[in-house]
């Protein structure tokens, strides 16, 4: 199969430029190795993460439509690396497509900066793009360090799975298995556990800290008990609750936890032969040393092909 070069308008999201800069770093490094061109939408605003829409639903729709129009001006599909961004964008797109008057009103406002959204934009999280646009066979051919000794628990994040009809899962129910597919494609073993599609608790961290940390702790403990070496997520907000808050989650559920959490591009990057440092793994709160030890058992190039 001939390799078609891929190019996206890239929406990195707030967290990958803030508290998870290792996601931005690993996403750009991995895209380069994969041969995916990313044109960063530096002018695009935050999606609102479903929070702005609580206070100002029309504003949330308008600022996201502006982002769609910025991508459409470039003639490129939109790529994000956050389950939450994906959920908000898919929901806004569904509302616009169902209500042409709403789109028209927003387009009138966007015209002041010469923008217009005509609908029909492809909006994909990196996970979806990897499977549907890039292809896992193509990815497998680039794997120089199969992660054969690694047991990886998937963690999706609510907004890339629900509501199913807005996220295209009605037509593509397999989207709920992509993480497992990717884990297998890079040579690792997926660890199935009940919490993989549940909530990490992050949205209520400031409202009900105890509940939020109990939710995170429960999923971490379940995955750990099932023998996972690490967890992987396409959502940096889940990453914040599962990694940065993990010591507090352990105290809350009164159980020791030491489960490294990888951003999706980091898992791919390791299999592509990039070093943990190049992928920003030293920035994680929970040490990723255990993963590095496992990888030393299967050094780069050892099982290529």
């Amino acid at each position: 199969m001939a390799s078609v070069p891929l190019k996206y308008a890239w929406f990195p999201g707030c967290v990958s430029r803030g508290a998870c800069r290792e996601l931005y770093q690993s996403m750009t490094r991995v895209a380069t190795v994969l041969g995916i061109e990313l044109v960063e939408l530096k002018e695009a605003a935050c999606t609102g993460a479903g929070v702005i829409s609580e206070r100002q639903p029309d504003v949330a729709d308008a600022i996201n439509t502006r982002t769609f129009a910025l991508a459409q001006r470039l003639g490129l599909p939109l790529l994000n690396n956050c389950s939450t961004c994906q959920g908000v964008m898919s929901a806004v797109q569904a509302r616009l497509h169902a209500d042409p008057h709403r789109l028209q009103r927003i387009n009138e406002a966007l015209a002041e900066e010469g923008l217009r959204y005509d609908g029909g934009l492809s909006i994909k999280n990196f996970l979806w793009a990897l499977v549907e646009d890039y292809g896992l066979d193509r990815l497998k051919r680039l794997v120089t360090r199969p992660l054969t000794s690694l047991r990886v628990a998937p963690f999706y994040g609510c907004y890339i799975l629900r509501p199913a009809e807005k996220l295209g899962l009605d037509e593509r129910p397999e989207r709920a298995q992509y993480l497992e597919w990717v884990i297998s494609a890079v040579g690792a073993e997926p660890v199935d556990f009940p919490g993989k599609t549940r909530c990490c608790g992050f949205p209520i961290l400031t409202m009900n800290r105890r509940n939020s940390l109990t939710m995170a702790g429960k999923h971490l403990a379940d995955a750990q008990d099932l023998g996972a070496d690490c967890m992987v997520t396409p959502c940096p907000l889940c990453h914040l609750n599962l990694d940065a808050q993990q010591p507090d989650a352990a105290r809350t559920i009164r159980q020791p936890l030491a489960l490294p959490i990888l951003h999706l591009p980091q898992l791919i990057g390791l299999a592509l032969g990039l070093s943990p440092r190049e992928l920003g793994m030293q920035k994680h709160i929970v040490s990723t040393r255990r993963i590095e030890q496992r990888l030393r058992q299967a050094p780069a190039g050892a099982l290529a092909g």
Binding site: E43, N208, R209
Partner: protein
């Protein structure tokens, strides 16, 4: 077609004495069924023809009475509305379990009392104020249109079974009771809107929902309880209930994005708990310190995105109030 159902069997009373298992265990039944069979049809057939000890609660078999909610392959849904051929076209094993977040009485039958207690807690009856009309209360049709969705609730409990917060905290009112509360907060005949919102604004109420969409997915009637909860949050704020972390969080989030186009993650948590909330500010310190040590702190200087004036213009044009 051949159907295989793996059913969770359990009788909590150790001395049930009817031959049913005393610890939860799964029992697999294989039976021939017509293509049009639902999961409930199959369960009834099992009970009538294979194993009379299987307990299942049902009545209308038409997704109206709300009696047969259970977990089917892990998803909370009505057994009578779930066709076997749709979920197991090749005769795959279908796992059937009682609803979660409620005590099991026997097999697939749960104790709904905690569910009803929470429904009662939101005072699900009309409380008009002012003089009574001579005849009925007159309401224009359009004033009730927004309530159609939520009035479709059949109290099956599927949303409660699916709720991720109830899984770890039974204090939460939960999606069914909050959707029911919405029905009365938004009823134009009700006079206790403010008092209702004051109650819902408390611990265990609207701000404890984690926004996971599980209840929206589970509801067989399109009530979308989570969407109603988010509307109640908006109602609470517009009625002046702004002294909660949730209300401050939404306000701070919106203002930070209006200001710079993207989130300032250093300021959001501080503004959410409130500048003078020493106890919770102290709670934020360990994670802040950890992030500082790992060079994970968001940039101290938070620059607006290029073209921020265009984002601010959209905020000005589309903001309400």
């Amino acid at each position: 077609m051949q159907a295989t159902l793996k059913v969770r069997r359990y009788t909590p009373e150790a001395a049930a004495g009817d031959g049913s298992p005393r610890e939860p265990q799964y029992q697999t039944y294989t039976l021939d069924v017509p293509d049009y069979f639902t999961v409930l049809d199959a369960l009834i057939k099992i009970r009538e023809e294979i194993d009379g000890t299987l307990a299942v609660r049902c009545s209308c078999r038409a997704a109206v009475c709300g009696s047969c909610a259970m977990r089917i392959n892990g998803q909370s849904r009505l057994a009578c509305k779930t066709k076997l051929i749709a979920i197991a076209p090749q005769g795959q094993t279908v796992t059937v379990e009682p609803m979660a977040n409620m005590p099991v009485l026997k097999d697939l039958v749960v104790d709904m009392e905690p569910f009803w207690a929470k429904i009662r807690a939101v005072q699900p009856w009309l409380q008009p104020t002012g003089p009574k009309p001579e005849r009925e209360y007159i309401v224009p049709n359009e004033a009730m249109l927004g309530l159609n969705g939520v009035m479709a609730c059949i109290m099956c409990g599927a949303c409660v079974s699916a709720c991720t917060v109830l899984e770890i905290d039974q204090n939460f009112l939960g999606p069914a009771a909050l959707a029911k509360a919405y029905r009365f907060v938004h009823d134009p005949r009700d006079g206790k809107t403010r008092e209702r919102l004051a109650e819902l604004n408390k611990y265990g109420g609207i701000w404890d929902c984690t926004h996971c969409f599980e209840c929206v997915t589970a509801c067989p009637k399109g009530v979308a309880p989570m969407d109603r909860i988010l509307e109640l949050r908006h109602d609470a704020v517009t009625h002046g209930f702004t002294n909660t972390n949730g209300a401050r969080h939404a306000e701070a989030f919106t203002e930070l994005v209006r200001h710079s186009g993207w989130l300032d993650e250093n300021r959001l948590p501080v503004q959410s708990v409130g500048l003078f909330n020493i106890k919770e500010l102290v709670q934020l310190m360990p994670v802040g310190l950890r992030m500082l040590i790992h060079r994970k702190m968001p940039p101290i200087i938070h620059r607006p995105i290029p073209g921020i004036e265009n984002v601010r213009r959209l905020f000005a044009k589309f903001s309400h109030e």
